[in-house]
């Protein structure tokens, strides 16, 4: 009995379906590729620089924070890379290097690790980074100004600012098909609607993101934009325009669906998604900002814990 073999003793269940956080992150990275590659081809080397720097700096910030806080190194789970690529996708191609590095610092350290790392963040880290940059350095996010030196063969006007300043007469040049195919100026990874939709559908099928959130988000945008459009067609654009411009699609599939900051029960997911969509159009149409998706999602992140209290009655619960 003395020199008997040692076995692994653990608690049931002894099976696992094999899913990992790493696989989840990499699936999301794969899903971003169509939109990202399209942006890189359009905007050339500066965009490559921004996205690469964004990914690498996000990973470095996470590594540094792991070292400083003396916790396990978590860069292997791919979450930092995911934050990096999503952050890069939201930036204009001409963003200066320090803007990218500051942004990923805010996203990774303040947005995520301050709250205890993955799973602990009450807000979407990427959007925390974006919101702070947008408030601090407004000018870099004026896409018309940022992309002034580009001529890609289509109207190089940021559709949402054209709408804001000129009303619907300013957006006549944009057809829905062009917008869907990425014939619009904007952030590196947010303009190619079709690519984002393909990525989103891939994620939904693989079960990485929750379809309830994405669909109700899009439905919220659609319905609200429709009502505005009916009330005053000269000032407010139609639903298709709102769905295909700005950060709507990337928000619906990649940002609003961030695990930790979104609800998990069915009805809360619908409320959360729809609320985000409604807020986004409200900010666009009657708020001060050109695009409202970033703040709309952050706002609904705030409501998430309350929403998730709406849940089905557990088996045998006595009330």
């Amino acid at each position: 009995m003395l020199n008997q073999k040692k076995f692994i003793v653990s608690h049931a269940p002894f099976w696992h379906d094999g899913s990992t956080i790493t696989a989840r992150s990499y699936n999301m990275l794969i899903a971003t590729l169509p939109a990202v590659l399209f942006g890189l081809i359009n905007y050339g080397m500066p965009a490559v620089g921004v996205v690469s720097l964004s990914i690498s700096s996000a990973i470095v910030w996470e590594l540094l924070f792991n070292k400083i806080s003396k916790r396990t190194i978590t860069i292997g789970d791919g979450n930092a890379a995911l934050i990096g690529i999503l952050f890069g996708m939201l930036l204009p191609a001409t963003s200066p290097w320090w803007l990218v590095i500051t942004g990923t610092f805010v996203a990774v350290v303040i947005g995520k690790h301050i709250f205890g790392g993955i799973g602990g963040n009450p807000f979407n880290p990427v959007l925390i980074g974006m919101a702070i940059l947008m408030v601090s350095w407004k000018d870099f996010f004026d896409f018309n100004e940022a992309l002034v030196n580009y001529d890609l063969g289509f109207a190089m006007v940021y559709p949402l600012s054209a709408l804001k300043h000129l009303g619907t007469s300013g957006i006549d040049a944009f057809s829905a098909a062009d917008l869907l195919m990425g014939q619009q100026s904007g952030a590196i990874g947010a303009t190619f609607g079709l690519g984002l939709i393909i990525g989103g559908i891939y994620l939904i099928i693989r079960g990485v993101i929750r379809w309830e959130i994405s669909l109700s988000f899009l439905a919220g945008v659609f319905v609200t934009a429709l009502f505005f459009n009916i009330s005053d067609p000269a000032r407010y654009a139609g639903p298709a325009f709102h769905l295909l411009t700005g950060y709507t699609l990337i928000g619906a599939f990649f940002l609003a669906t961030e695990d930790s900051s979104s609800p998990v029960n069915f009805i809360p997911m619908l409320i959360y998604g729809a609320g985000t969509g409604i807020m986004a159009v409200l900010i666009r149409n009657i708020g001060a900002y050109v695009d409202g998706v970033v703040f709309a999602i952050l706002l609904m992140n705030l409501v998430n814990p309350l929403l998730d209290k709406i849940r089905p009655k557990a088996l045998g619960k006595v009330v």
């Binding site: 009995m1 008997q4 073999k5 040692k6 076995f7 692994i8 003793v9 653990s10 608690h11 049931a12 269940p13 002894f14 099976w15 696992h16 379906d17 094999g18 899913s19 990992t20 956080i21 989840r24 396990t72 789970d77 205890g116 790392g117 993955i118 799973g119 602990g120 939904i204 099928i205 693989r206 079960g207 990485v208 929750r210 379809w211 695990d259 930790s260 979104s262 998990v264 029960n265 998730d308 849940r311 089905p312 009655k313 557990a314 088996l315 045998g316 619960k317 006595v318």
Partner: protein, 432 residues
């Protein structure tokens, strides 16, 4: 091991092993040289007032009832003939104390006739005195109806096993039809309960029909055969959180145990062979029938299973079984399967936090907010977890841990919390 499908949107459907109707008889495992019986009572030879009845060197006969202390109603039934070689304390899961009685097996088998004389006329007392250590492990409440507070008015016979990969009960249903019918008759006679329900899988309906119990179909998808799920789906009674099925008047007993009761009264000898599935490292399943108390390593060597360091040996099913730390561990009356997992392909738990992906919420059959529950349990806030996040609604199916992306030991946390809360309430009750 069932892996997540490419299309992760669909909820995984995990089905019970359906027993092939042409299954050969289980292979009878030869009696080993030494068996160990685990008595469900702590071994304290010096502190107890009551006299210790067993000692090293005592000879025992097959089927003999062995009690450790005088006046104690806890006993084991010896599955072999031989002499006691050692009596030692044994620590089980969650700190439960047992007494391990090791018996050196003698050449010639001699049957104990004490039960035979009594078995002519079955009564509740005889069943209670002799039949709680039989294959299939009948619950204590089965033989105590009438004299204790929660009175049982329904008996549910499980014709399917509670966990995946196990077919012992289905096999009992298929091959021991007569014994089960006899067992049902005896149960009706000694308990006076007419409401006996047989929960059986669809392909064994015909066999279940012979038993004389009312037959109901159980869904083939895990976890439909867990007691609380049967209560809800088949009996239409939902067990309130924190209550047991017994408190609702329902007692669950396995088909194998009913067959064993039938056989015991039929032949006058208490059954001593336990049917079990041996699931090897490559997933091959062999059905064997071995004496209770046979150490598992003898089964491994007979079936060419090589065990290395850092492998995992599991008694019971993959979702709810328990892993053991020694290959000398004996087969017990409730051991329906032995699973061996290679150390290289174990899915180990991690210390990652919950990322709130919601997989557990979607799969939980009890609709528990697992994502919130596990956060409270990790922080040790068991009382809040029980009050606000439905700890006691858990049916302990293990599906949350199975799908957890962070690979958290969720079921482990839940069981630990229930255990700790149970300790607190017993401490409060004794101090009050």
């Amino acid at each position: 091991m069932i892996k997540r499908s490419f299309i992760g949107l669909a909820k995984p459907r995990i089905e019970y092993e359906a027993l092939d109707l042409t299954v050969p008889e289980p292979r009878i495992f030869p009696t080993s040289k030494k068996v160990t019986l685990l008595l469900n009572q702590a071994y304290e030879p010096f502190g107890k007032k009551n006299a210790v009845l067993l000692k090293k060197g005592d000879t025992v006969k097959t089927g003999q009832k062995l009690s450790l202390y005088e006046g104690s109603d806890v006993y084991v039934i010896s599955s072999v003939t031989g002499s006691i070689s050692s009596i030692s304390p044994f620590l089980g899961e969650f700190g439960r104390s047992y007494t391990a009685i090791a018996i050196d097996v003698a050449e010639d088998e001699e049957m104990d006739e004490q039960f035979k004389a009594l078995s002519v006329e079955p009564t509740m007392d005889i069943a209670k005195e002799y039949l709680s250590f039989i294959p299939g492990n009948p619950p204590a409440s089965l033989f105590s109806s009438g004299d204790t507070s929660p009175s049982i008015d329904t008996i549910v016979i499980c014709g399917v096993d509670c966990d995946l990969l196990i077919t012992a009960n289905q096999h009992a249903l298929l091959s021991d039809e007569k014994a089960i019918a006899k067992g049902v008759g005896i149960l009706k006679h000694i308990t006076g309960i007419e409401n006996i329900i047989m929960a059986a899988p669809e392909h064994l309906m015909q066999n279940a029909g012979v038993s004389g119990a009312q037959v109901r179909v159980v869904d083939a998808e895990y976890p439909a055969t867990l007691p609380r799920m049967i209560m809800q789906d088949i009996l239409g009674k939902t067990v309130p959180a924190g209550k047991t099925c017994e408190e609702m008047g329902v007692c669950f007993v396995s088909a194998e145990a009913v067959a064993a009761i039938g056989m015991a009264f039929d032949q006058g000898y208490i059954p001593r062979y336990k049917k079990l599935n041996l699931i090897k490292k490559d997933g091959d399943s062999v059905m064997i029938s071995a004496r209770i108390g046979t150490p598992v390593h003898e089964i491994f060597s007979a079936y060419d299973v090589t065990i290395n360091e850092k492998d995992r040996i599991i008694l019971g099913g993959p979702m709810t079984g328990s892993s053991i730390y020694s290959e000398h561990h004996p087969i017990q009356p409730d051991t329906s399967a032995i699973i061996v997992q290679d150390g290289r392909d174990l899915a180990l738990v991690s210390d990652y936090p919950c990322i709130n992906c919601g997989e557990c919420i979607r799969i939980c059959p009890a609709k528990i907010p697992v994502n919130m529950l596990v956060r409270f349990l990790e922080a040790g806030k068991y009382e809040e977890a029980a009050e606000e996040y439905d700890l006691y609604s858990c049916v302990e199916c293990g599906l949350c841990s199975f799908v957890c992306v962070s690979r958290m030991p969720i079921l482990h946390y839940i069981k630990l919390a229930k255990y700790e809360l149970g300790r607190i309430s017993t401490a409060e009750a004794t101090n009050a």
